[in-house]
Each structure stands twice: as C-alpha cells, then as structure tokens.
C-alpha cells in the first residue's frame, strides 16, 4: 500500500534532474506571476511582495489588519452602485410625493378661494342685486332631475329644503335620483313634507298643470337593470314569434322600457349634488341631451346657486342635426 507523504514534503517542489541535453541543473522556477486583477472588483494589490517572501507576508497582513482597524474594508464596486441606486430611487420617490402633495395643496387653496367668490355671488343673486338674474323664465325648464350622492341623500331635511326652493322658483316636475335608492325609501316622507304628488308614469307635459310639485324617484335599478328587464321582455317576444320577429329600433326599446316601468321623460337639466361632477349611473336612455351642472355638496347648497344654474340653462342653445 502506498503511504501518503507528510505535508511538508508534499508542499516542497519536486527535485529536478539535470536535463539530458545540456547536463546543467534546471533553471529555477520563474517568479510567481502577479495576480490578475478583476476589473469588476475593487481590489488592493501590493506589488513587490512575493508570496514566498516572509517579510512581505508580515508587511502585507500587518497593513491589512491596520486597515481593518481603521474602519475601511475591501468592497465591491457593484455593491456601491446598487446602494447608490437604491438611495437615489428613494429620494426621487420622496421628492415626487412631496411635489404631488404640494400641487394638490395649491388646488385646494384655489378651490377655497373659488368657493368664497361663489358664496358671495350666490348671496348677491339671491337678494336680487344682480339684475340679469331677476327675470328668470322657467317655462323652458319642463323637467328637472337632481342626482344626489347616497350618503348625502340620507339628510332628508336638506332634500326637502332644496325641493321647496325649486317649488318657489316655479319648477313643476322633478326627478330625484341616487344610486342606492335611499330617496325611494324616504319617498312618503318627502312627498308629505313638500306637499307634492308622485309622478304617475304616463302623464304628458300638458297634464302637468297646477301649483303642485310632481316628484319622480329613481335609482340604479331604473338604469342598466331597467334595460336588462326590457331586453328580457323583447327576448320573450323574439323567441315566441318564429314567423314575425320584432324589428329592433330605439322606439321599440323605449316602449319596452315603459312597459317594465323604467321609462320617463328626458330631463332638460340635471343638477349634481356630490363631491364630483358625475351622473352616478342616471338612466342612460334619458340623458341624451341633458345639460349637467355640478352644484357641490348638498349640505353646502345655496339658493343663489340654484337660481344661477337655472338661469344659465335658459340661455343655452342646442343645435340638432337634420
């Protein structure tokens, strides 16, 4: 069996025999080449210190230890770049958020100033100090719709006050809409407090006479879901008549919506009480050419703003195609 030579003997370079050609002892091994430096890494190389130089070994390691004790250490350039990029991204994100907040602060300040001016104008309009709003002709406004956000619609007293203002102005026919049907649930209470009567569904404009305010209540179920009901009604007719299938026209769909109880006249003006100018799903079939005006929140409603919105509607001119 072979015996493993001791460690000291294994590390010793092998003895070289004289070459056969010259008879001279072999030349000493070349000095160890300088280590190749990796350009991707930041490495410290001490030239002149050979690995087999005991003095150099002590100097090199002594310097290294002193460097560690000084707090510096060997780092890769790649790690430094990654950390720099991370800090830059965080600073950029923070600066962007700060700029976004500042822009919205300016917008809020602008709206505060606009609300103050609007409040002053409403005061002047209500008290008749602006001549142009004195003569208000509401005959052009045959049908008015009011969209209220469902949370604000729970304040029935505000809704009743608004309807009383409209009745005082001379508006006869009003549709109240909110998405969740809160106003439908409070229908009886609103009708009683306003001394109004409900809309009967098949009334024409000529039938709406007299001082009594006529109210209609709508919700999202009268919009898209109403079209769904009308579609099923038409499908029943489509499925039943093998020989004579209905020809689909807008008039036919309008009739189907009337039969399922989701139809009504098209409002001339739509007043939106809520945080955003959005019709919140008011029945799409009925607002083709309806003027939409955003009035702000219901709790901050103003009588003068109402008069101004109706006056501006009377000055609108709509062009229809031939």
């Amino acid at each position: 069996t072979l015996r493993t030579p001791p460690a000291a003997q294994r590390d010793r370079p092998p003895r070289r025999r004289p070459t056969a050609t010259t008879g001279l002892p072999p030349s000493p091994p070349l000095a160890a080449p300088s280590p190749k430096l990796d350009p991707n890494k930041f490495q410290i190389y001490f030239p002149g210190f050979a690995t087999d130089d005991r003095c150099g070994w002590w100097i090199r390691h002594g310097l290294g230890i002193s460097w560690l004790m000084g707090g510096a250490r060997l780092m890769d350039v790649r790690d430094v770049n990654e950390k720099f990029s991370l800090w830059t991204a965080k600073i950029t994100q923070f600066a962007s958020i700060l700029l976004w907040k500042f822009m919205h602060f300016l917008v809020t300040v602008w709206y505060l100033m606009w609300n103050l001016v609007h409040m002053l104008e409403s005061f002047l309009v209500f008290h008749g100090w602006l001549k142009e709003y004195k003569s208000l002709d509401v005959s052009k406004l045959r049908y008015l719709a009011i969209v209220i956000e469902s949370e604000e619609a729970r304040q029935i007293s505000d809704v009743v006050e608004l309807l009383q203002w409209l009745a005082a102005i001379g508006v006869k026919h009003v549709c109240l809409y909110d998405m969740e049907g809160v106003l439908k649930e409070s229908k009886e209470e609103i009708l009683a407090k306003c001394n109004a009567r409900p809309w009967k569904g098949a009334e024409t404009a000529k039938a709406i006479v007299g001082p009594t305010l006529i109210l209609e209540f709508a919700s999202v179920s009268d919009g898209k879901q109403g079209v769904e009901k009308a579609a099923n009604l038409l499908f029943a007719q489509y499925q039943g008549g093998d020989q004579d299938k209905p020809k689909f026209t807008e008039a036919l769909l309008d009739e189907a919506l009337r039969l399922v109880g989701c139809s009504g006249p098209e409002p001339d003006l739509l007043l939106i009480y809520g945080p955003m100018r959005c019709h919140l799903g008011f029945p799409a079939w009925r607002i083709r050419y309806t003027e939409m005006v955003h009035m702000g929140c219901l709790k901050s409603k103003k009588h003068g703003s109402l008069i101004k919105a109706i006056y501006r509607f009377t000055t609108v001119r709509q062009n229809y195609g031939t």
């Binding site: 898209k224 579609a231 038409l234 689909f248 036919l252 079939w285 709509q318």
Partner: protein
C-alpha cells in the same frame, strides 16, 4: 405602436371608408403601447339598442341549439332556475355586445367648448366618470387642461 379600434355602426359608412377602417384595425391589432378608439356613426342609444338586439339573437340561437340537441327539458330548465326564470338575458350579455366593449369605462370624459351635455356619447359607460367641460375649443386644448382634469380626478380618489 398604438392599437386602433373603430367603434359604431360601421355598416352606415361608405364602402371605401369601412374597408379603410377595417384595414387600419387589422394592421394595428398587434400593437400594445396604447389603445385609440374612434367613434364613427355612433350614438349611445343606438349602441344600447344594438347590444339588446345582438343579445336577444345570441340567446335565441343558443336556446335553439340546445333544443335541437334534445336537451330542451334538461339544460334549459337547469339554466332557467327559479331565480333566473324571467332573466334569460343578463347585464353581462348586453355589455358583451356593446360597441365600446373594446375599452374599459373612462375615468375622465372631456367635452370641449364649455358645453355641459354628453350629446348621446358614452351614456352607458360614463356612470362613474368625471365629466370635464373646459370652455376652450377643441384645437386649442392643451397639456394644462389635461393636467387640471387629472388633478380634479385625483381629488376624489385616495392615494398614499
């Protein structure tokens, strides 16, 4: 590139215009950077009526196919359960046939020239959209109007 859709009753258009629109749609079908929908021969009420018509026809042929397979007393009765007995057509069936099914509901709807009505445009899809009506006319609308509309949109949504 930009993907282009032509939305509306394209059968009302002249033959050359309709073919050009179809070629443009086919040529840009693989683009994914942005989507541009151009409404031509379009009104919202016509879109709703057409969607109801297509939904009725689709459901009619589906029922006829099921009936011809001999499953009339099986699948149809199973599908038309007590709750849906009167609702063969659902809201999703109608919305699937809309011209504007190629795009999601808009977040902001801009109407220039200061007019505050929609004029029979995207009535079905704009239920939760911010309606923005700058007084500026169309050729003069610029970046500042767009930024202002986006700032107003952001005021009604929570971020951070």
């Amino acid at each position: 590139g930009i993907r282009v859709h032509f939305v509306g009753d394209l059968n009302l258009l002249d033959e050359s215009v309709r073919l050009a629109a179809e070629r443009a749609t086919a040529a840009t079908s693989q683009n994914s950077r942005a989507v541009l929908s151009i409404c031509m021969a379009y009104t919202s009420t016509n879109e709703i009526m057409n969607a109801v018509k297509q939904a009725c026809e689709e459901k009619y042929y589906e029922c006829k196919r099921l009936g011809s397979c001999g499953t009339k007393n099986g699948l149809i009765d199973y599908a038309a359960n007590v709750e849906r007995k009167d609702n063969f057509i659902s809201l999703s069936d109608i919305e699937r046939q809309m011209y504007m099914r190629v795009a999601p509901p808009p977040g902001i709807l801009v109407r220039t020239s200061g007019e505050s009505r929609l004029s029979n445009f995207l009535l079905w899809q704009s239920g939760s959209s911010l309606l923005y009506s700058p007084s500026v006319l169309w050729p003069e609308i610029g970046l500042c109007h767009l930024v202002w509309s986006i700032l107003n949109f952001q005021r009604n949504h929570s971020y951070f």
